[in-house]
Amino acid sequence: MRPSLTPRGLLLAGLAFALPVVLIVVPLAIFVVYSFFSVDHGTMVYTPTLANYGRFFTDPVFIPVLVTTCILCVSVAVICVVVGYPVAYFLASLRGRWRYTLLLLMLVPLLMSYVIKIYAIRSILGQNGFLNAALMTLGIIDKPSSLFVFNLNAVLLALTLLLIPFAILPIFLSLERIPGNLLQASYDLGATGTQTFLRVTLPLSLPGVASAASFVFVLAIGDFLTPQMVGGTSSFTFSRIIYSQFGAAFNWPFGAALSIVLAIVVILAILVGERFGQQEAAR
């Protein structure tokens, strides 16, 4: 249906466009503009400059941190997919109301405050925490281990726990959409369960896997709180650098420039995820 060109229709269309423009496009544009300013002794200098971007590429700190952060977040995405896939598969194999009840239960943690979850995870992982106590009771270790907290392991573990619902959901949706008659046909042609899974179910669910991985990656790379709170001294991530530019340093322009760099990485990740998903679906 073509939109009517009555004054009322125009007004409605205008409003519909105005909202995202005012609330999303304009703030983003301000952000981009800020990234070309600079700060001199606590006051903003409004002369456009590329110095912020120049500094990102020349300073020996930023690119290595960005690379380690990307590796960390890719690992989180891989772990989330590997652990989330069987869960999603199990959920999709359930019949009737159980399927959605369990799915809902799986998503309940998302309703809780992020900070509270991190605090809880940190006390569980701590040297006197639940995990160490349990391992000691079981006799697996004889003194508290500091392997689980304030290092990279802890960040991996915490991010995986926090983000796994975002991996389960898209995989579940893609598994649910596979028509039952395709599986039936596979069995009719004499394929075993494993063969059916590897040659029918898995390829058809890959778009879900791709979007799950890119979701998790994007959420993980933007998270400054988890590395800050459980990462200790050895896991300095890119988002922590950005955060510090807005707090203590009061260098908004440089923070904005670093955020633009991060946004480009995120957009690339989403594009890669989407492209991969579409290719697999088209095969």
């Binding site: 700060v39 002794h41 606590g42 903003m44 700190v61 290595p64 941190v65 605090y119 940190r122 006390s123 701590g126 040297q127 006197n128 925490g129 508290p144 500091s146 907290v149 304030f150 800050q228 709170m229 990462g231 200790g232 001294t233 300095f236 922590r240 650098i241 510090s244 203590a248 340093a249 009061f250 260098n251």
Partner: protein
């Protein structure tokens, strides 16, 4: 910064309304202070003693004080609380008036440390006093008395390999540079030469390797302490942090290191735009009395200038915080330290 101007304007407009409302009363002192610095009972006692009403505006940040004072060129307030690191900026901007010590009889009875104001960094300029010390706290060292048997005397213990992975550090470049400069024996920890900055940076990288984690709030430090094997905490929140830990049942003690403990100090300053300077002086004199001082420490845990408290022993060396040479540089170098292997 059009937005900031708008906010300042709005704040000014709101204030103008309040002023219109209170213009009827003959003598009203306009006070700007942090929460806890002008409690209701003090304001009532002040009125009973001097017959002067005080209107108190509470602020939430250093930036807010600056915005309010700069926005009205000081005309909106008579007397306000400001820390020594900030005060010089107000003096330079000609927003504060020198204070006549003869009008403050209570200043003669303050603790020895605060008697000679020329020895309190940051409250004087060209021999004139602009801020009267009121509340302070030191940034000392909290240690677990079960794990650290001999009481430490210096922050240098934070580098001791015996406590590797048992140290909690505060996540702030500015303060970490200052205290490390004191450990290295530099006389002026707030104005470091580039060579000193590099030496401090190397020292802080070593520090990082001894540290379990960085914290930002006192609550967070307590939570990490409870769930982990922590022996030493660089106590950014001083006695308040110490008290919270003791209340939680921790076996801890507090020291100010011998090389000097960093400490913040809030003072009362008189605005350039003060309508009645003598009323403002009466307010300051009242606030530095023994009674208010003792109550301030009891209620907030901060040190006061009139009665001795645990915040600083009589012989403790205290280094009052000043503005640092380049906060941005320190913050950038702190990031480099955190990113270092």
């Amino acid at each position: 910064m059009a937005l900031k101007r708008l906010f300042t304007g709005l704040a000014g407009a709101g204030l103008a309304l309040t002023l219109l409302a209170s213009a009827a009363s003959a003598e009203t002192l306009r006070v700007m202070a942090w929460d806890g610095y002008a409690d209701k009972d003090w304001v009532a006692d002040f009125k009973a003693e001097t017959g002067i009403d005080a209107d108190v505006v509470f602020i939430g940040s250093d930036d807010e004080i600056w915005a309010k004072m700069k926005g009205s060129e000081g005309k909106d307030f008579d007397v306000f609380a400001i820390n020594t690191a900030q005060l010089q900026r107000y003096i330079a901007a000609d927003l504060v008036d020198p204070i006549d010590l003869a009008a403050l009889p209570n200043q003669k009875d303050v603790l020895p440390r605060f008697r000679d104001l020329s020895k309190v960094g940051g409250v004087e300029k060209d021999g004139k006093v602009y801020g009267i010390p009121f509340a302070f706290d030191s940034i000392g060292l909290i240690y677990d008395t079960d794990k650290v048997k001999t009481p430490p005397t210096s922050m240098a213990i934070l580098w001791d390999p015996a406590y590797q992975g048992k140290v909690l550090a505060y996540d702030n470049g500015e303060h970490n540079f200052s205290f490390t400069a004191l450990v290295l024996g530099y006389p002026d920890p707030f104005h470091l030469t580039p060579e000193q900055m590099d030496a401090v940076k190397q020292k802080l990288i070593d520090y990082k390797h001894n540290v379990l984690s960085f914290y930002t709030t006192a609550d967070e430090a307590l939570q990490i302490y409870k769930n982990n094997d922590v022996a030493l905490i660089w106590a950014n929140y001083g006695q308040q942090q110490m008290k919270a830990m003791k209340d939680a049942g921790a076996h801890v003690a507090y020291i100010n290191p011998k090389e000097g403990a960093l400490a913040w100090l809030d003072t009362w300053a008189i605005s350039k735009g003060a309508k009645d300077k003598s009323a403002a002086e009466k307010w300051i004199n009242f606030m530095i009395s023994k009674k208010v001082g003792a109550q301030l420490s009891e209620r907030t845990g901060f040190g006061n200038t009139a009665v001795a408290t645990a915040n600083a022993g009589g012989d403790d060396k205290i280094v009052w915080l000043e503005n640092v040479e380049d906060p941005l540089k320190r913050s950038d170098m702190w990031n480099e330290i955190k990113a270092a292997p």
